[in-house]
Symmetry: C2
Amino acid sequence: MQHTHISLAHGNGGRFMRELINELFARHLANPLLNTRTDAAALPEFNGEVMITTDGFTVQPLEFPGGDIGALAIHGTVNDLAVAGAEPLYLSLNAFIEEGLEIAQLERIIQSLATAAKHAGVNIVTGDTKVVRRGEGGGLYLATTGVGLKHPGQNLSMDQIQSGDRLLVSGPVGDHGTAVMLAREQFGMRGDLQSDAASVLPLTRALREFSGLRFMRDPTRGGLASVMQEIHQATGFGLRLWQTAIPVREPVTAVCEMLGYDPLYLACEGRVVAVIAENQAEDALAQWQDLPQGTDAALVGKITTTGQRVILETDIGGERILEELEDDPLPRIC
Amino acid sequence: MQHTHISLAHGNGGRFMRELINELFARHLANPLLNTRTDAAALPEFNGEVMITTDGFTVQPLEFPGGDIGALAIHGTVNDLAVAGAEPLYLSLNAFIEEGLEIAQLERIIQSLATAAKHAGVNIVTGDTKVVRRGEGGGLYLATTGVGLKHPGQNLSMDQIQSGDRLLVSGPVGDHGTAVMLAREQFGMRGDLQSDAASVLPLTRALREFSGLRFMRDPTRGGLASVMQEIHQATGFGLRLWQTAIPVREPVTAVCEMLGYDPLYLACEGRVVAVIAENQAEDALAQWQDLPQGTDAALVGKITTTGQRVILETDIGGERILEELEDDPLPRIC
């Protein structure tokens, strides 16, 4: 391509668009199922129950310590299938590109996306690009839809949750939200904190044989506290979290105190929350802690009884109700 | 919901987002496979070859004569499966909503989307919403990914195209592009022209039994001429179009002459171009003309031989080369 920046002509169905798709997107995403000349991709036969999920990505800035919107677009959708008890196989990709975006930056992001897809073992099989006018986008928005195969015999659902079940988290919370926040220039701060954005497949696969595993979720928008709220609202059960048990990195705590955020409400992009029967919780925790991405995993709370709320037992011995989020703490974080 | 306009809090993972999803999206899109509390939807077993496609939608204005971005987001993806010889079944939906969008308008659009999905016989099974800051979006961008089942025995591909094949178009070209253009206030014009946006399923189903059917495509971005170019580039064959045979509505011609556009390059959103063996072309055309959406269908050209280009035989007896589009004629048209 002879251009350095995206122009409206890259979205018009003509030569510039063809070159952008072939020389940038298709080149990095190449796989036997991707054909830019077809309207729809034919998928190999499925042997099992098919699951599908979708996610949109608007993170700002597009590149941040520990990740970028491209890798995030893979991990977000791969992780939604993973926590649902499925193995991701195929992804579709939509790109909404703002006129004026530097093509070199777009290429870095699509390369990163391709690398993340390869590591997660998924293929991009169909895609679409649109160009929006300067000032009508945030540089780049992505959407991915993922198709995968459910693990036979694993039926994860909030309906399975029982009173007394334990709550595990696979690592420190709030790293992603804090890292993205710090990467925004208006804060005028820089830390060595990195986003936790990653595929959680090793973590979800590690719990596949646990019959007492009830439910998993990746605590993205709204963080750990919002997952607790969702469980509370869906099941009617109370939940109790032990603040001293919840892993939070020191710089996350420091930044949150300075800016007035609560790390329990900040997005993670590579963590899993699992609800599991009490008698299997310690074994499951040990499985996670044996993995590189689970060394800081912790047992952080339990399901209590109907009529209770979501309670945080604070490190000074008090109790705090974790309410559902109302005002926006942090836009464009994922 | 107590709000009249979208705020950033509608994207934060908390109460406002939950209410937006449940009371607006899920209420209109309700079907047995859609569950807003799961990360991924489980699909019923497939009996046949699965096809998948995706499309993004950025049309401006969001509502225009004959359609809106919601209906377009269904038709675009349904039509991509239809022209690939598949029956669409399930869709995922991504919404990128700009802070400040009027909720009443969003609801009209999602209602229209739901109606279009119902008419096309598809269910939205999974979705995601993101809110972007005021000034960082065009009100609403949508993306849909569609999954369908390929008709057994039908193998449509540009590879099937042979010299001498005929080109059919299912109706007048350029209505959608012109209607959207007129709906933009800066032109200061209003016409009674409507977008042709619609599901093309009745048209593609009508040709299912034609063994000589080689390939179909919906001429969206770049219009009829760009489909001709794609065929030319993929096959090496020349193509010859007969201008007097190509259906173009009078107001489309008038507007295009005034504004300097060529209707052959303007988007359609409810038309099909079919390439079919010469000896079946008249029968196929008759099938289309029997349908309400095919009354103006026409045989508009033929595949010539290798080494030739895409030629338009003009109505005054001359010849014009139809080149690949380079500069942008019309941004945000689909």
